[in-house]
Subunit: 244 residues, 2 copies
């Protein structure tokens, strides 16, 4: 999958924007990071000269922005819907950091909606009910009033960084091991540790948890799985030679 293909699947949706300057600043923030699809739900003023001025060269994004009467309509063709918030919510929505949201976007097929709420009040709970995830941008607990276009800037920046890292990984043949390959890897690891007497099969819990946590933290790449499994095999072969 190419870089631009992924950024091209992302649609930024602004719900109920009051200040047209924020629409222009959002377009600029998007374009600097390579995003181009903007949807507006009930903007107070649009099109608008101030929006165009603040877009500062990203007016092509304003020109092809689409306006919707309802939030539901703006989402109809989207497969993954992520709402954003700078504030901590009391209700426990399934929450992602901006970095985690990139992984979700990368692994999804189809159009991805990233939704930003009103300047003063954000998204309503009813609107959040339509989102699969809430992206929570870490902020100063005593001053979390992130400007709307700044929030767009941060999420768009993370999306760009994420797809660039992803591209680099692919370029270097550094794709991560599949879940199936990891299951085989864990089995091979466990057999080997039992073999050398390091893992007690009757009491494996604590050690296995540590090892799972470790390998989940680092996310093995395909060639790394091969090296490790080669080592496991060498340990077991060595053992067999000694026994014969």
């Amino acid at each position: 999958m190419k870089h631009n293909d992924i950024l091209d699947r992302i649609h930024v949706i602004l719900v109920g924007v009051t200040h047209p300057g924020n629409i222009g600043a959002t377009a600029r923030a998007m374009k600097t990071m390579g995003l181009s699809h903007l949807r507006l739900v009930q903007p107070k003023h649009f099109p608008n000269a101030e929006a165009t001025a603040r877009a500062a060269g990203a007016d092509d994004i304003l020109a092809k922005a689409t306006v919707y009467d309802t939030f539901e309509e703006s989402l109809q063709d989207c497969h993954l819907i992520m709402g954003t918030s700078a504030r901590r919510r009391s209700i426990s929505w399934p929450t992602l950091t901006p970095k985690q949201s990139v992984a979700k976007a990368l692994s999804s097929a189809g159009k991805v909606a990233i939704v930003f709420g009103r300047e003063q009040s954000g998204l309503t709970n009813k609107e959040l009910d339509l989102c699969h995830f809430l992206i929570q941008i870490s902020s100063n607990p005593t001053f979390s009033s992130l400007n709307l276009a700044s929030a767009v800037q941060i999420v768009a920046y993370e999306m760009r960084c994420g797809v660039e890292n992803h591209d680099d990984d692919l370029k270097m043949g550094r794709a991560y091991a599949s879940a199936e390959s990891m299951a085989q890897f864990y089995q091979h690891l466990e057999d080997t540790l039992i073999h050398i007497g390091f893992l007690d099969p009757n009491n494996p819990r604590q050690l296995k948890r540590h090892l799972y946590r470790f390998f989940n933290r680092i996310q093995l790449l395909k060639p790394e799985v091969n090296i490790f499994r080669g080592i496991f095999t060498a340990i077991q072969e060595h053992h067999k030679r000694k026994n014969n």
Copy 2:
């Protein structure tokens, strides 16, 4: 080291800002991420009502901002100086991504300056000569005109994420293994692989490089080093038992 201690060592320096609104928006961007020290070198208009309006509640940062006549003076008490740029420079400055710049800030002692240049032209080469590193924010090659306060927002956001991750690591006792401990680890690994016949001591190059690259990529935590060294010892003990 506590979270706020690190953010409190960071000083944002704006050089030659033309639009006072950008000073206010910068103050707001800083405060949302927990930064509070702002320095201004030859601002065109300051103090200014538009700056205060755009600060939107971060006017305490404007009130204690310091103004300097020259860039050199603004840097005098800083130990680490990092300039920023959204454009690719033809001259090859030592360049960091925003994420990499956080590691530099975390590992430095004393005050850290993060420097942002003029709206239209950025920092001059002469100004960049005074910077230890250039932070390059990834952007759309055909539209890299990031708004000044948006650039501040991204770098401030990364600083906050970086210190939060660092705090989490410390809280969970997840400090990384020291260089000394890693050197012992590599020796133990090498001995073990030779022991089981997986590594040929006469031709170790390619495999050792792969393993070093792997363990450098993932940065082992202290308890992880202990688990691995326990496994190495078990493999060697097992071998000895078989030989006796």
